[in-house]
Symmetry: C2
Subunit: 66 residues, 2 copies
């Protein structure tokens, strides 16, 4: 299975935001993430970077969403 | 291996842009993609959506990059 874990960058640390993410849909003011079980989360953040082989997505909060 | 293929949306069709993408790094004016062989491509586009279980990333051109 090729899902990835999404971490939220908070200062120097990274906090697990959602495990086993399948789908990512960017919107104007944030991201919708859907995991392999169909659970959805919305976060006012953008993708900082991702490495699929490491199953790793790093998110960064948007301070002033549109 | 959990790499994905990146497709560029052009109107109603999707054109293969890069195979076997590992790393995605968003920038102000586009995306840097790196494949599993270390090849890099930069494109003035944003992520439209992605489904990791389907190994599928869909990109959309940015008309007016910053």
């Amino acid at each position: 299975m090729c899902e990835a874990n999404a971490y939220l960058k908070e200062g120097e640390t990274e906090v697990m935001f959602m495990e086993s993410v399948d789908v990512i849909e960017p919107y104007e003011n944030g991201l919708k993430l859907i995991d392999i079980f169909g659970m959805q989360k919305f976060i006012q953040a953008k993708i900082k970077d991702m490495t699929l082989l490491n199953h790793r997505i790093v998110l960064e909060k948007i301070d002033n969403p549109l």
